[in-house]
């Protein structure tokens, strides 16, 4: 109907990820997500192999495609060289391009991830950054993190880091020139557009 399969086939991860699934279920047996959620990577491969557009659309609109943790254990174990984890990457990609991701609660979480990881990259050049992590959102960090945050400069100096400093070293400030190269890559390759789309479509 929307040529979703055709869109998926443009993604090299789809081509690499689906050879010929024999439905043996080894991927499901090894999958950490399958042990925690109602999630079955064997069914992902099977649905895509059948190629029914309605089924694929339902999948893209569901929470299901967002459960995978991308550990890629399935790639090691599949006896036929399939990789359900790659198929998930391709599905998530097309679900976002088509806008189907906003139909699921898990899909809409892309906004939270964009703001917590994507914005860090553009601001600092790091995926995660000490100044942005607190124990309100990350209580698992524990009291040692609060102590680290209260004393970041002196602790990092003791450890010979270069926190917010120029030049090389642990947690150095990444220069504006280098950040601009990174931002330019994000612009030219479509990541900035994807960030804008997430802000527009997932927020509300």
């Amino acid at each position: 109907m929307f040529g979703l399969l055709e869109q998926l086939k443009k993604d090299v991860r789809f081509i690499e990820g689906l050879n010929s699934c024999i439905n043996c279920g080894i991927c499901t047996a090894i999958c950490p997500a399958a042990q925690f959620y109602e999630y079955d990577p064997r069914q992902i491969a099977d649905t895509l192999q059948r190629g029914n557009e309605d089924e694929i659309e339902r999948l893209m609109k569901s929470d299901t495609i967002w459960y995978c943790g991308e550990c890629l254990s399935c790639k090691t174990r599949c006896p036929r060289g399939n990789t359900p984890g790659y198929l998930i990457q391709a599905l998530r990609n097309v679900a976002q391009q088509s806008g189907f991701y906003v139909f699921s609660e898990r899909g809409r979480q892309q906004l939270e991830i964009k703001r917590r990881i994507g914005d860090n990259i553009l601001k600092y050049g790091y995926c995660v950054y000490v100044d942005e992590i607190d124990t309100d959102y990350h209580p698992e960090q524990g009291p040692v993190w609060d102590w680290y945050r209260q004393n970041t400069e002196t602790i990092l100096k003791r450890l010979n880091a270069n926190y917010r400093g120029d030049g090389a070293g642990t947690l150095r400030k990444i220069s504006e020139a280098d950040l601009n190269e990174l931002r330019s890559i994000f612009d030219k390759t479509g990541a900035l557009k994807q960030f804008e789309d997430i802000e527009k479509t997932a927020d509300g």
Binding site: E16, G118, Q194
Partner: protein, 355 residues
């Protein structure tokens, strides 16, 4: 006969690790969560082993966490990887060394994709020149930092101040080794020992006198799960998967855990704190939990480095139970001091987990 087959097969599980002249690509998670380990690695490779290693101020994130959370296109990650390689070219190096297992997986995946789909290499080359004016050549050798410590494990042993042996009983310490999934599960031929017989950490442990524990969930993921951890309400996935590993290893009474992945070290450390405080459960006999080390911390202790100068005070599970078993000489009063040895207070004590 069995031995013959093993010897014939073992070369398939080896990888080439350059002997010197490394371009060092840093880890986002490790710089933030275990900053001392980044510096310890540079000290071991540069000062102790006398190798040439270049720490480039121009490098950035590889975007790995964003890529595996699906918020950026694959083309973006490919082009950022290409820029890192271009920086390596500029610096005059050919041996690329990734300090993060997620990054190692990312670099390896992008290089493999360029080989399988040459049109993606053309496209990346075009993106990079349009975005930055840069060009790039692939590294001749692409390895993870744990590969380097593994390669020089015997040299480190020859300079060791202590061995991984319980000084009270004289017996080898019992060690759980955990390999980050993206070290060898995606591309088994790129890891020492592959995905089936990972040797990178067991090689260090056994060379330095410890005993490796085999347990049912040894190869289960630490539970990071990228987006499953980043979003607060989904974090039960991460905790549950890590708990599965703790429950499985507990009967074997490990003295410590060592991992080769910054994320795994973090989760195996912090989820012990959460399980202690929320469930009242600790995984050792005395309520302190099982210390979780990076491989540099393990190597540093073997070489006689001070635990607090390596940043081991930033673990939530305290490491003193292990230091005492090893016979490491340390000053408890120095643990929480600032850079001029000034008093900066101490972290609040957890209610259940002893520190």
């Amino acid at each position: 006969m069995v031995k013959d087959v093993k010897e014939q097969q073992w070369p398939d599980y080896q990888k080439e690790i350059a002997p010197d002249n490394y371009y060092y690509a840093r880890s986002c998670i490790r710089q933030n969560f275990f900053p001392g380990s980044e510096e310890t690695f540079l000290k071991i490779v540069g000062k102790v082993l006398g190798k040439d290693i270049y720490d480039d101020p121009h490098q950035t994130t590889c975007t790995g966490i964003a890529y595996h959370s699906g918020i950026i296109p694959m083309e973006t990650t490919m082009t950022v990887v290409a820029r890192q390689f271009s920086l390596m070219n500029d610096a005059g190096y050919k041996n690329f060394l990734a300090s993060c297992v997620t990054s190692f997986g990312i670099y390896t995946e992008m290089v493999e994709t360029w080989e399988h789909f040459p049109e993606t290499l053309e496209k990346t080359t075009d993106y990079l020149v349009r975005a930055t004016g840069r060009s790039f050549k692939l590294p001749e050798n692409l390895v993870h930092t744990s590969d380097i410590i593994y390669k020089f494990r015997n040299e480190i042993a020859s300079m060791s101040k202590i061995r991984l042996v319980n000084k009270h009983s004289g017996k080898p310490l019992r060690v759980v080794e955990h390999i980050g999934c993206h070290y060898a599960k995606i591309f088994p031929k790129k890891g020492v020992g592959g995905a089936e017989f990972p040797k990178v950490l067991t090689g260090m442990i056994e060379t330095w006198g410890g005993e490796v524990i085999d347990y049912p969930e040894r190869r289960h993921c630490c539970g990071f799960g990228f987006r499953n951890y980043i979003v607060k309400e989904d974090r039960g996935y991460s905790l549950s998967n890590t708990k599965k590993k703790f429950d499985s290893m507990e009967p074997y009474k490990p003295d410590f855990i060592v991992t080769n992945c910054p994320g795994c070290t973090f989760f195996l450390d912090r989820w012990q704190y959460v399980l202690a405080e929320s469930e009242g459960k600790t995984y050792d006999a005395n309520g302190y939990g099982i210390p979780v080390l990076t491989y540099e911390e393990m190597a540093g202790l073997v070489l006689g480095f001070d635990p607090w100068e390596m940043g081991m005070q930033l673990h939530q599970v305290s490491v003193e139970t292990l230091l005492d078993k090893l016979g490491v000489v340390y000053d408890k009063k120095e643990k929480y001091l600032g850079h001029e040895k000034q008093n900066i207070g101490i972290p609040e004590m957890p209610v259940v987990l002893k520190t």
